[in-house]
């Protein structure tokens, strides 16, 4: 695996995105696009958009957890604050959707810089606890602040017209926009993982003292990946705010941070496509098992127990091991 990714990384410096990519990754990306293009005709478009948003969110966390080796338990802070800012910008300031999404993402990036620079000073469980504490701070801020609407959240957010042209009120128009945003986000994450920067990250994950001894300033790398991850989580949150036309406390609650960690673990931590699968499974369970009432949580629990007992590397992790190819 190491040699393959290294050559991929080297080939990268030369030219196009596609040239350095292993063939089966290109095939998967194309497959993803094909599935995503067909899905809204077979399934309910809003549901598929939700899956896409959470897939991006889980991939963002996976960038930090799977490749940086940093377990954040407060990623809802970036996801949720971005969704609040986007909702507020679109509803109260009357910004166009692209500007609203950008402002939400920018705020998430800013929070990533502030929280990340403090959190990366600690490692392991302490890092997780610091991020959880910051996540809770954002939750209480959202609960108290005037503009978030407290318990009610921000509702009836207008979807508006993209660039003043495309009317996003139609679910299908919005769907293609969301797909483009999410695909763009996934490509960025893929690019980061396979860049020289990504190689150094993996080195830090495997053995930080050795990376330091090689002359890398590891804290800068860690901060950079933290901010990148927070930004992508923010992009996912902003997009979700437009899809559902609301931002609420659920988005900043710690259970949201936990849910996205579960999506990543279930799909396969440290794989490229695992989080997408994990997000799809969890969101589908939330949605399609809703009529089972109290059984939802029980079924979820059983699935997690099975996942932990039988495939600890996650769905895609096991698949990758069987195929002997990094996925």
């Amino acid at each position: 695996m190491a040699s393959e990714t290294t050559t991929a990384g080297l080939a990268y410096g030369k030219r196009s995105l596609v040239r350095g990519m292993p063939g089966h990754h290109i095939a998967i990306f194309i497959g993803f696009l094909v599935v995503a293009a067909v899905a809204p005709f077979l399934l309910y478009p809003v549901f598929v958009m939700k899956v896409l948003c959470f897939a991006l969110f889980a991939c963002a966390l996976n960038l930090l957890l799977g490749f940086g080796g940093l377990l954040s338990f407060g990623h809802a802070a970036y996801f949720g604050s971005a969704s609040y800012i986007t909702a507020h910008a679109a509803k109260v300031w009357g910004l166009t959707p692209e500007l609203a999404i950008l402002s939400g993402t920018a705020v998430a990036a800013f929070l990533g810089v502030v929280f990340g620079s403090l959190a990366i000073r600690r490692q392991g469980i302490y890092f997780a606890m610091v991020t959880l504490a910051f996540g809770q701070m954002i939750y209480f801020f959202a609960l108290q602040a005037e503009f978030t609407g407290g318990e009610d959240g921000i509702q009836a957010v207008p979807r508006g017209h993209l660039l003043g042209l495309l009317d996003l009120r139609a679910d299908f128009t919005l769907y293609w926009v969301v797909l483009a945003i999410v695909f763009f986000g996934l490509l960025i994450i893929y690019r980061v993982i396979h860049s020289p920067f990504g190689q150094v990250l993996k080195a830090i994950r495997e053995n930080e003292p050795r990376a330091v001894s090689l002359g890398y300033r590891t804290s800068q790398y860690k901060l950079a990946v933290f901010v990148l991850s927070a930004t992508m989580a923010g992009l996912a949150g902003s997009t979700k705010a437009l899809v559902f036309q609301l931002a609420s406390l659920t988005d900043v609650h710690w259970t949201m941070s936990g849910e996205v960690v579960l999506m990543t673990l279930l799909g396969g931590m440290g794989t490229i496509f695992g989080p997408i699968v994990g997000a799809t499974v969890i969101v589908a369970m939330q949605n399609y098992l809703a009529s089972f009432g109290a059984w939802v949580t029980i079924i979820q629990g059983v699935i997690f127990v099975i996942a932990v007992l039988l495939f600890r590397e996650g769905i895609i992790g096991v698949l990758a091991r069987r195929l002997r190819k990094p996925l």
Binding site: Y44, E146, G149, E151, D152, A156, D251, N287, A290, A294
Partner: protein, 399 residues
């Protein structure tokens, strides 16, 4: 002349169409509520049972109206609720969405049905925004709202002579709003607010706040919080013997199932406002006994509200012979309501269902004569004073 003929022809045609349609109308109802979390007891499966009872009592099948009832758990998450509601309306052709507890999910579904050919008949959601600035032509708010609870408890208690108040408030927007609303009512009725303390949300330890309330000299301690906070505060107040020492606790958002869970030992003396209690009169007793046979518990006011809402909806469908959301809601607002739950009432143009509310006091264990014998009626709040006046809600539908 030709116009009148056309008009008459049209009228006749529509009458015929009505009677023809009345033979075969298909309706889908979706009960969207919390079925696994903290509101599963007070709404949950009981709301589905209540909806089914209404369909059977109305004899819908005998009148050519086929009703299918769906249900789903929104897990108290507005995005899950919004997703399910959209899918129901767009894909499944659901005509009515029922129940929808918690303010955030209720407001989310309110936006879904606003522009769709579907109605939301909300029973468990509390926010008075639903008939205020967020009001929608496709929403009816059936059982209660926070305004009614705050005003009912506030004004009725002052009338009973309890005029010195102390507030124990959850420190977030909902708690603040509840406190401000109630304080305004207490003062308008001639009472006095002698103090306020804000506790963190969610709170675990209320002892210091309760001691403050105890030493404030207030006659009433108003609990401007909800759910677990209220339950914890009541339990701890019982440990301090607050009620035994002559002060009253006023719950501003508490349900029969909460009292059931607390037990009379802890909850005795609590004063609260509700729209319905099973032991009000012969009709409510008879209905509640049937409900209990199916559900195992006595109904809460919101489950009873689902029954009342479904019954009135079906009457409007029968009268119009249509399932068009605009036509049915217009008929629902035009016809007075009547059912064993709330007696006589009506649906106001902003979507607010109007009926009497009641001020209850929770009985002590000695006073209680059997299971579920929990409340004694202190006062009836007449319908015209129970809910927020139309012009104060700032509902855009009312011009």
């Amino acid at each position: 002349m030709r116009k009148t003929v056309l008009l008459l022809g049209g009228l006749a045609a529509s009458l015929m169409a009505t009677s023809a349609l009345a033979q075969d109308i298909n309706i889908k109802m979706g009960v969207l509520n919390d079925r696994s979390g903290i509101y599963a007891d007070l709404a949950g499966e009981g709301s589905v049972i209540a909806a089914q009872m209404a369909v059977e009592d109305f004899d819908a099948a005998g009148k050519g109206i086929n009703v299918e009832i769906l249900s789903a758990d929104h897990q108290n998450k507005p995005d899950v609720a919004s997703n399910i509601a959209r899918q129901w309306v767009d894909d499944e052709g659901v005509n009515v969405i029922l129940d929808v507890p918690t303010s955030s999910t209720a407001l989310a579904v309110n936006e879904v049905t606003r522009n769709a050919n579907a109605l939301m008949l909300n029973s468990t959601g509390g926010t008075s925004e639903l008939t205020g600035s967020a009001c929608s032509p496709h929403t009816a708010h059936w059982t209660y709202d926070t305004w009614a609870l705050a005003h009912g408890t506030g004004s009725a208690m002052v009338e009973q002579g309890f005029d010195k108040w102390f507030f124990l408030t959850a420190d977030y927007a909902f708690g603040h709003a509840l406190e401000q609303d109630t304080a305004a009512v207490v003062e308008a009725a001639g009472g006095e607010v002698v103090g306020t303390v804000r506790h963190p949300f969610p709170g675990q330890d209320f002892s210091s706040f309760l001691l403050q309330a105890q030493s404030s000299g207030a006659q009433v301690i108003g609990l401007a919080n909800a759910g677990g906070d209220t339950v914890n505060a009541i339990k701890q107040a019982a440990e301090f013997g607050i009620v035994q020492q002559g002060q009253s606790l006023a719950g501003l958002l508490i349900f029969l199932t909460d009292v059931h869970a607390l037990g009379l030992e802890a909850a005795q003396g609590l004063v609260l406002t509700e729209a319905f209690y099973w032991d009000l009169n012969d009709e409510t007793r008879e209905w509640s006994a049937r409900f209990e046979e199916l559900d195992g518990d006595k109904p809460t006011m919101v489950q009873a509200g689902v029954y009342s809402a479904v019954l009135h909806y079906l009457k409007a469908v029968e009268a119009t012979g249509s399932t068009d959301a605009d036509e049915v809601i217009a008929k629902m607002k035009e016809m007075p309501t009547e059912d064993p739950i709330f007696g006589e009432g009506y649906l106001r143009e902003d979507g607010r269902k109007i009926h009497d509310m009641y001020l209850f006091r929770v009985k002590s264990p000695e006073e209680s004569e059997g299971p579920w014998d929990y409340y004694e009626v202190l006062a009836t709040i007449p319908a015209e004073r129970a809910f927020r006046p139309l012009e104060e809600g700032n509902c855009p539908l009312v011009e």
